[in-house]
Symmetry: D2
Subunit: 459 residues, 4 copies
């Protein structure tokens, strides 16, 4: 029955429920760092002796070394990383080890460790985004004046430059990066010392531990400190948005690499081949990025549902927080690395892009704008005139720049020869020089801006 | 940068993207069973020789044995369970092994394996639900006439029996069970033989492989067979609803075990204690069940987002399907086992329940119904009369059955002595004998029904 | 402050919280039908007089007429549709109206009304799916032998027929249809008579009301009857899967109508034009269908989160159920209608599809299969041989069927002239005759099957 | 069939798809403000004449007046608010009206309007949070020293003060407030002038329109400007977290108002009564707040699913953005108003809280800490000693402070009379004076901090 799960009896079930060690052992560095800061503080304020403090710190460093070298044996009976480390510490140093847990509790300890992990994950994600942004700017520079179709509804609408298209994603990613920075800053308060839920009567120095662990300050309310997980949820929210942006670019890569577009070619290293069809370059890495919002938004749902309607303070429900957060950041990290690799190594087929850009009367708006600018035709009227001209072009099977002047004049006699100056795709993109527009000049200015910003970025 | 992920180069990233072996090795039984059926069919229709067929089947059984005994070495370079098994088969038996993959493709193979796994998971879940239903019916029987408060808005509304309350969950779970049965039935069509996406020109016998693998019939469209995952999503949907039902009962257990209710006591085996407070019985197992919709609905989100807008046929995005489905069913299986264990071992505090049932003027509706029944008072008027009586009771600090007849008559002179027959909580629950109502008699009838149904259930 | 919401005071806030009439007035037909059945039953069992019963029924019919003709004034002060109808009934017929609410409560009343609505929505959805299936089968028939590319990873893999592609969706939709049927059947138990939560002491006949309202039987547990909403959630789950299927076809329509594919043309009636670019046919209806999982899965999330961890029985939280369910079914109904319209009127460009199908060495698998079939080459070896041949073809810029026999023989001397019989896309699809495969013959057989099934369908 | 939807024909379906006016008319103020800024800019840079510019602005003000007074007739044929306003403008002022749409498109127009709306919604939400924070601080001040149970797992763990509990939510809400501020700041870039997707060749001044509309700067990439919706998603994410926090407090209110706790009483104005049970105070407003994450996280799902995998630039899918965002903010606004009203008017039952705080040996940790502090017992040993003492207390049915000294000394002979100083709940909370702890002194300091911060807050 149930694959035998129940047959193993309550002990087996409760072990599966309680033992989080398989998930939370990933927090071992944070746990040891946090305990060292706590012990040093306890000694500094006199709650434990200096000697005990030193023994604890030394002991913790030995535990760290054991874990790092693989000599440590994790035990599910000790439930979690916190008990595993403390138990080993007591084995190693005896009595002083029993003093480490003074003035704290697992509730503030796990909150502290998990915050440190999530803070690091946010910063790593921001860095990985930066790497992708550089790859996009590099591609933008290499293709600043490559003309491609701009789409609405996947119908060709107006020509744009490939550089401009790449920079659109740099903008989105910049907001993603700033969201991770905001999340990391907002969570940067230290729960340590909140104890079980009510604080403690020991004269601890929470500013000291907070500073030692790189936090801006201690959390100001002990109940909130142990029972809030919005810091992790906000981080996963930032990851969800970033993954959504990656999924859009990924969808474009999947389409662009298909024979119907043929706009780009992915390097072998980022494609999956087929032994039977050696020409095939399956964009697996792009498809993974496209699917990634699934994994990350799924984790976000898990976290939000878990916290809904939970009374204060700690409840076991919250144990679900780490698996979901780890899964989200593992997925994001993989997707960012894969996307950076693809973008950096993208082979752009200028001719295919240029040819497609000319389809669909993509310079019709330029013609309307020419009427407004040179003939002072009200825009809504110009719009109608161009509609009639495109109808003629369609009937004759010609692009706009191949229509005879007489055809143009048959709709609006005021049209003159110089209209042809605006009807090519190159003229179109060249003329789009308003701030934020697609012209190669704009793209290059913007690239220069980004280069400057990247240089100024702290590393 | 990014914890070094990118530094490892494209190969490392692509390995992380492609190698699903860490997840899908769980499908090894299904994979070998499917391959055996395929080989036997190929031999039966003459696509391969009888001798080759036999060698393949024997070889696959050796592979199975190696995996079962732990002698098998899984290789990430071989990407997934399918290639791991086939490669080992060729190592073991040589040339005939190279004929196994005739007239199939990984696309139909993985779809077949995963369907078999999910079908089994649905059936196991249905069985585990059955176990929990029996535990609930047992508790209902033991407490058929225990009176407890029935709530609306967590305010005490009318008395009910604990047996009736338990049976409410038996009903919900019965629908959950039937949803798993429906899902298992609907998915029971065999993708094997759909090949990559278009079927094959070999004269294969798909009815034979379908039957051999316990399917009702082969899938009727090859494109659909390899590119649909609604079977897994429907299974996770059934799991989501079941988890939602468990979360409601879990919330009640958390409240009932708190000192404010004290309605039930969980056995030590299903509680987590505290070495400092030995009386404490933290309902960790209940809290896990309460949180479980998070994990399962999260997996559901993952799957739905992954499939949204995916063109036919196979895309790499779909590789995300297994991790999410496995996580959902692992979680559900754990929650069902934990809940069964808790319910089976629940200690019910009749006195605490009875005392609470009398609070809140819970028999006010009985008084109104008495007026309607004996005095032909229209219900809406009876409603108003009772409102005024309860106001008097509240003012005097008495329960309804302790009010003097004169007090009752001061509001409605037609009230007579025999009204007291309906004002106790026992009288109230005893009188609720309409079909589906809460009286002990009803509860016992219903228990008998369930016993009969459980006996008739196929095992 | 807050757009003045708070300034209006508690009364305004509570009215916004309580008044569900703007949402639930949509249930008016169900409410009146349910009340009529209840009144007739009360009279039949003697709880009210025959005369009162008749007056109530006549009065309810007058209310229905008022609502139908727009003469009815809905009042937010009366909170919901149930109180609006009952209050008006009492205005119209006086005292007997006050007897209607005997032996029921708003809790069972709303559950009954909402089940009837959801049951109808499921049946309507199933019908609308049937309409779309017919449109798909019609397209399949008209294009049974049109060859198009079959894709994996949006790379061209093997040729398929357009008819086969259409029928893939007929399969998916058939499962969707059966899910709605299952949901409608499972929910078909009547809550009426469960009263507030505990049943009633009146001798009501729940079988009678259940039958009168088209239910298979009454709900067997009163607590479950008033506090479960899995019926609505299951219905929205079925809608979520159906919307996911539609989103896949919609994505294909968006791509196929783009100039890069040019496979199909949507009629004007189902496109949005542009006055400036008259050739433009924006596939807005397809994009709406693609986005629809957002709306429906969002509603599903709402419902699942709302129910998570809710203790029995009724809680105000559940009031959120109707807005979400209505939104989901409105969206699905619109998407199904839009998709049926598009498919029915799709113009298929056979030449564009045929031309694309020949790209990408799409018959490479046919060559491998030929080697297996005629030369008894083990498949894995045949696979390698074909890989080398395709490499030559790619180098020479030729499709497989244009390669010289000497080129083929340079890789495998056993290849003979008759191999050319399998290298065209027509030969490829023609040879795929295994059950469920893509050949025109298969497609026509399958169409015949569907026609028969549609005829047998109850209407 | 389908409730007749299809019978109405394509026109009806497409109208339902295209006509967003029923949803987006809510943007009328933003639309007119945006158009005025655009017209003034066009005149300033000479694209239109000063006279035309003035006529347009005057005309738009007339349109605004018509809408405000209800004189305006919205037309579904004109699809959306943008076309409705522009069409009316042209009716009113003729030719100059046809010049308004120069150098812009609906794509940048709708993005601008929707950003302005969302920015305002974020600011309003932040204000409404501030109101709730003040209410919580007021309750904290009035109940700074009221002792209540602090819970883990809903088991009584340690005594805390009610003031401290209230302030925990002030902390959570402060982070929510700062998230809305961050979102509003990050989105504060103006899309106007991005035109359809590529920018424009007109010499527009985007800095001018950005400044006129209160944006910090124009969006720097036209493709990003028209096709990104992360601004709305981030806002709904902040709303989701805030709603999750409210749901936790709401769950507590539902429990606290139940007779099992009896900790607080909600005023009539924020409860729903029952005419039959006048004492009943259903916490409907709290239940609505508890359910609110359903509505808001549902909207978040909608938005994330909608955007997943969408290629640039505008697609019709995005039309779903507004309904979801409006629903989320309407819900949040209602929940914040309801919660503020409840908290402001909460009647606290000190005695019930105090009595419950003493249950469950809630000062056991104080005893352990006393041993550590006065006897230098290592904490883990103290932990064990207290466990044995609590076992005695449980056996004798006494609270810790009622145990005889001899009983205490039977476990640890070093315990002395002065231990009783720490065993009362008052002593316990009084001693918790570490930073962020629960003592009344801490609570009062923290209240003073909040008062100062609220005063410094810009209004």
């Amino acid at each position: 029955m149930w694959g035998g799960r129940f047959a193993e009896g309550p002990a087996a079930i409760m072990r599966d429920i309680n033992a989080s060690i398989s998930v939370d052992k990933r927090l071992w560095r944070e746990d040891i760092t946090g305990s060292k800061a706590h012990a040093e503080m306890l000694a500094a304020v006199g709650v434990i002796s200096e000697a005990d403090g030193k023994e604890i710190v030394d002991g913790l460093e030995r535990v760290a070394q054991e874990i790092e070298t693989g000599a440590f044996t994790f035990s599910a009976d000790l439930e979690d990383i916190h008990m595993n480390v403390e138990a080993r510490l007591i084995e190693l140093i005896g009595e002083p080890g029993r003093r480490l847990h003074t003035a704290r509790s697992r509730n503030d300890q796990v909150a502290t460790d998990f915050r440190m992990w999530t803070r690091r994950a946010c910063r790593d994600a921001a860095d990985a985004i930066g790497v992708l942004q550089v790859a996009l700017v590099d591609q933008a520079e290499a293709n600043a004046d490559v003309v491609m179709p701009g789409y609405t509804h996947l119908q060709i609408a107006q020509p744009v430059t490939f550089g401009h298209h790449m920079l659109a994603y740099v903008e989105m990613l910049e907001r993603d990066r700033s969201r991770f920075a905001d999340a990391a800053a907002r969570m940067n308060e230290c729960p340590l010392g909140a104890a079980a839920l009510a604080g403690t009567s020991f004269p601890i120095d929470r500013n000291r531990t907070a500073a030692a662990l790189g936090f801006d300050r201690p959390c100001a309310n002990s109940l909130d400190a142990v029972s809030s997980r919005d810091f992790a949820i906000e981080a996963v929210m930032a990851a969800s948005l970033c993954a959504t942006h990656l999924s859009r670019l990924a969808e474009e890569l999947v389409m662009w690499t298909s024979p119907h577009f043929g706009f780009v070619r992915l390097p072998d290293a980022f494609s999956t081949g087929s032994s039977i069809m050696p020409q095939k370059r399956n964009p697996d890495a792009a498809e993974l990025c496209r699917a990634m919002p699934g994994r990350i938004v799924g984790a976000l749902s898990t976290l939000l549902i878990m916290m809904k309607g939970l009374p204060l303070a700690y409840a076991k429900d919250m144990q679900e927080d780490k698996a979901a957060t780890f899964a989200a950041f593992d997925g994001l990290s993989l997707a960012l690395a894969a996307m950076s690799g693809m973008i950096r190594n993208l082979n752009v087929n200028r001719d295919a892009m240029r040819a497609a850009a000319a389809l669909g009367y993509s310079t019709a708006t330029d013609l309307a704008d020419w009427l407004v600018r040179t003939r002072r035709t009200p825009f809504r009227r110009a719009h109608e005139i161009v509609g009639r001209i495109v109808a003629i072009a369609e009937k004759k099977g010609l692009t706009l720049d191949k229509l005879a002047l007489s055809d143009l004049q048959s709709v609006d006699p005021e049209i003159t020869q110089d209209v042809y100056d605006v009807l090519s795709v190159e003229a179109s993109v060249g003329s789009r020089t308003s701030f934020g527009a697609t012209s190669p000049t704009n793209v290059r200015e913007r690239i220069a801006d980004w280069r400057t910003r990247f240089e100024e970025m702290p590393t």
